[in-house]
Symmetry: C2
Subunit: 198 residues, 2 copies
């Protein structure tokens, strides 16, 4: 259609998550016909991001420097370490603005069938870090999925002998959640982990 | 979040049609974490398309050359000219594979309140082309919207004295459309324009 370069643009847009052939075509037409300046800007932003964004050497989150802003910040609490599966989780927690400690990004969860063991998600390095003694509490904030639970459980066992407090993010009914629409597994967990009020 | 370049990428992705803040963030994370090669390819494709794709000098559709493949093709019928609103319509008709004539892209429809008159959508140039005498039939394939209908009607009037057959794409019940779900305006049009079978 039209030109090889148009076709290449449609194909390249299709590699974006949840962009099908129709929306890729609509995006390409929009950029070429109505927002050519936007096309150049997006090209530049992609090139810059793909060139300069790396993994933080300390927490494995995303950063433009060897050490990310959070790890480098003297205003963040060094004694509390939140362990998450991915940089997207760091982003979500930061946007919720309820946490002032530091992070450790595993980059996935344990998945023996895919050959992803403790080594692949940086658990030995996490234990090394805990042995340095600065961290007093580890918050296990892996996903509330079967894999995330298993990964949290593995870390808990691996840190058994370390003098560090280990906690897990609360699981229960989401804010605003109406009980009749909450799935039964969540509901039974919420009952089991009920909180003492008085 | 993370880095200025990540933030710039999220902002640039948001200029794409129907991409909100959440999906822009998801796309940026996907590109940076899982498909950096794809990020470079998309950057390249955007830059190439925005640099080299232009309007065909004859039909005003999209092309990498001064004259597009369809206009330049000796195998396409020069005597039938299909008038559409946008290159997206050319694409849709070509994908339906039922047309072997040539196109004329208006680049919009008449919209007096927005200052878009006949000149702005190339109607005088269309009439000039028809006066050359090669075209025997003009198919008015503007949208079946109020504006598209008005634009088709204007062209019909403007070409009244030219020795050219003027047709309008059929309007009616879409293929597979169940009558009870078709809107009443479409249904009344479909009845009014009923076809003689026998
Ligand atoms: Zn870091
Ligand atoms: Zn052309």
């Amino acid at each position: 259609m039209f030109s090889p370069r148009f076709e290449q643009l449609v194909q390249a847009l299709r590699t974006l998550p949840s962009v099908g052939p129709k929306s890729a075509q609509r995006m390409a037409l929009h950029l070429v016909m109505k927002n050519r300046e936007g096309a150049f800007q997006l090209a530049h932003a992609l090139h810059e991001a793909a060139t300069y964004i790396q993994s933080c050497h300390v927490c494995h989150s995303l950063s433009e420097d060897e050490i990310c802003e959070i790890c480098a910040s003297p205003r963040r609490d060094d004694t509390v370490l939140c362990v998450v599966e991915s940089p997207a989780d760091v982003m979500a927690i930061e946007q919720s603005a309820g946490f002032n400690g530091k992070y450790y990004v595993l980059g996935g969860h344990l998945s023996p069938l895919d050959g992803i063991g403790p080594e692949e998600i940086g658990i030995p390095a996490l234990i090394q870090r805990l042995k340095q003694g600065q961290v007093q509490e580890v918050i296990l904030a892996t996903n509330a999925t079967i894999e995330g639970q298993a990964t949290a459980h593995y870390i808990l066992e691996a840190c058994k002998t370390l003098p560090v407090s280990m906690t897990r993010i609360a699981q229960g009914v989401p804010q605003g959640g109406e009980l009749e629409y909450v799935d039964s597994h969540t509901l039974s967990q919420a009952l089991h982990h009920r909180m003492q009020l008085k």
